[in-house]
């Protein structure tokens, strides 16, 4: 990370302020705040059940936190649904794969282009010029993503038939297709072998470098976190216990305690 970046870190693009989320009596997140800078790769780490996924779900509107606010590009996202958040420019992947199982790889990625398509149903039904043009252009765009992720040979395979690692890649492709400014990646490398993880890291870094996409990712593999992230947020029991550059966080006593002696490296 020493060479000059195409997209140096900028101002805060995503500001999470004093978020609290409860399910019935269970507190998932308590008074959590942090800021994500434009173009950075931000890792969220923490033990199981620390509220990491819930936090991502709050950011893109799947869960509605009871308290606090989330601002994107300086504008507060108040109690709005995921589809509106997506249209504003935040896309995501899910912890337990959430692909469209019966659709092909290409169709899955094409769904990510949906918010760039404006033709209404009559135009699509009759294949009027705008619908045709959009279909053609967006298919071409998805083919580029397929090429980029090196999954060209499976483009027509229904995703349910793919091995786990490839499905994770397709899900990344679908999120990339939205051309969002911020990508929320919920354990993009869970269950992968070293080889696959390395490949996934390469894609994440490449996207960040070439397009400048801001990434917020949850990851358990500390090696990966140390390698690719600019800053780390550490959650424990729904609270932020540390924040900062990876090197700083790894030596933080609270973090070490939270991981209860588990070696962080």
């Amino acid at each position: 990370m020493t060479q000059a970046r195409n997209y140096p870190l900028g101002d805060p693009i995503l500001e999470v302020s004093n978020i609290s989320l409860r399910f019935g009596g269970v507190k998932a997140i308590t008074d959590t705040s942090f800021k994500v800078l434009a173009h950075e790769i931000r890792a969220i780490i923490g033990p199981n059940g620390a509220g990491k996924s819930s936090l991502l779900n709050c950011i893109n509107g799947v869960y509605k936190p009871q308290e606090g606010s989330i601002a994107f590009k300086g504008q507060v996202l108040d109690r709005i649904s995921p589809n509106i958040v997506a249209r504003k420019g935040i896309s995501r992947t899910f912890q337990n794969l959430a692909l469209f199982k019966r659709m092909s790889v290409l169709d899955n990625i094409l769904v990510g282009r949906q918010l760039h398509m404006a033709a209404n149903f009559l135009e699509v039904a009759c294949q009027l010029p705008r619908a045709r043009r959009e279909e053609r252009e967006n298919r071409a765009r998805c083919e580029e993503i397929v090429e980029f992720l090196e999954i060209g040979d499976i483009r027509h395979t229904p995703v349910a038939k793919l091995p786990y690692g490839l499905q994770k890649k397709v899900e990344l492709g679908r999120a990339l297709a939205t051309e969002a400014d911020v990508l929320l990646l919920d354990e993009p490398m869970a269950g992968m072998n070293v080889e696959e993880k390395r490949e996934m890291c390469r894609f994440i870094l490449k996207v960040n470098d070439e397009i400048g996409t801001t990434m917020v990712l949850i990851e358990h593999d500390m090696g990966v976190v140390m390698d690719i992230s600019d800053n780390v947020v550490v959650l424990d029991y729904g609270k932020v216990i540390a924040e900062g550059p990876p090197a700083e966080v790894r030596s933080n006593q609270a973090v070490i305690d939270a991981y209860l002696g588990v070696a962080i490296d």
Binding site: F23, G24, S53, N57, V62, Y63, F94, Q95, A98
Partner: protein, 300 residues
């Protein structure tokens, strides 16, 4: 005073009709609790059971023997369903299971008609469908003896089942399975036996419901449509709650009867046919988990 008495009669008639809905709904609840499967065939089971019962009676079997034989037949139906339909579809989506039970319903309806024929049969339980004289004389209430019997039998059956499931080992097992089938199986609860018990219980409940309804309206195909009304009952009461099935049944019974009597005439009647469903829609919009169901939190 007479107006109030009339209203009271309408409500009472609604409640008594409602217990019958409750009885069918109970069959749904038992299976839903044990397997999270919505058994759309419950209505068909009502029809199948009572038709077999009447058929056996026509062959000359005495009442008791015919009842036991039909009950055993319903256990067999439950066993076959478990082995031939549910087991092969284990781990499939709820929608798939639901569609399969729609298929099962058609099989049972067709089978019953192919074996016993399609003509409407009378079922005489020895209880007249006329007002109880004592109530008419002393209170001026016109309430059918059959309705009252049906209500009492339904209430007794529901009570017995509730107690069985609360205090027997089988009942405990059922509750464990309902909570977490995987965990229940891993601690040695015999999943298959429980499923069989539940399907058998649902079958016998169907038989009783069919007999009560058959005695009133004749044993005929229309019973299947009548049994469909258990669906709004379940939505109002919640799919996994026995008290829900009872209260839901009463609400539907009373609502449809009062609407029919007081508002029906303005529309030429027939409100009974759809009012329960529309009531169910309102519940769906405002309280999708029903009165007694658990609130569903979808986690991602």
């Amino acid at each position: 005073m007479t107006e109030f008495l009339f209203f009271f009669e309408v409500v009472l008639a609604g409640m008594l009709a409602g217990t019958m809905y409750s009885l069918v709904a109970l069959g749904f609840v038992l299976i839903y609790k044990a397997s999270s499967t919505f058994n759309f065939a419950q209505g068909a089971m009502v029809f199948f059971a009572v038709l077999a019962f009447v058929g056996l009676m026509e062959l000359g079997l005495p009442f008791g023997v015919a009842f036991v034989a039909t009950a055993l037949l319903m256990v067999a139906v439950g066993y076959c369903t478990e082995r031939l339909v549910l087991e092969p579809l284990m781990n499939q989506s709820h929608d798939t299971m639901l569609m399969a039970t729609i298929g099962l319903g058609f099989v049972l309806e067709g089978l019953a008609q192919a074996v016993w024929g399609v003509e409407v049969r009378r079922l005489d339980l020895g209880i007249g469908d006329f007002p109880i004289p004592w109530l008419v004389d002393n209170l001026g209430l016109f309430v059918s003896a059959l309705d009252v019997t049906a209500g009492v039998v339904a209430a007794a059956l529901i009570g017995t089942l509730a107690l069985l499931f609360k205090y027997t080992k089988m009942g405990l097992g059922l509750r464990a399975v309902a909570d977490d089938p995987g965990a229940a199986a891993s601690i040695g609860i015999p999943l298959k036996n429980i499923m069989l018990a539940v399907w058998s219980a649902a079958g016998i409940v169907a038989l009783v419901a069919g007999m009560l309804w058959g005695a009133r309206a004749g044993v005929q195909f229309a019973l299947v449509d009548l049994a469909l009304k258990a669906l709004p009952v379940l939505i109002i009461g919640g799919f996994s709650s026995i008290p829900g099935a009872i209260v839901g049944g009463l609400i539907i019974g009373v609502t449809e009867k009062t609407l029919e009597v007081y508002i029906g005439p303005y529309f030429g009647g027939g409100i009974e046919g759809w009012a329960p469903y529309v009531l169910a829609i309102f519940f769906l919009l405002y309280r999708p988990e029903g009165l007694f169901g658990e609130k569903i939190i979808r986690r991602v």
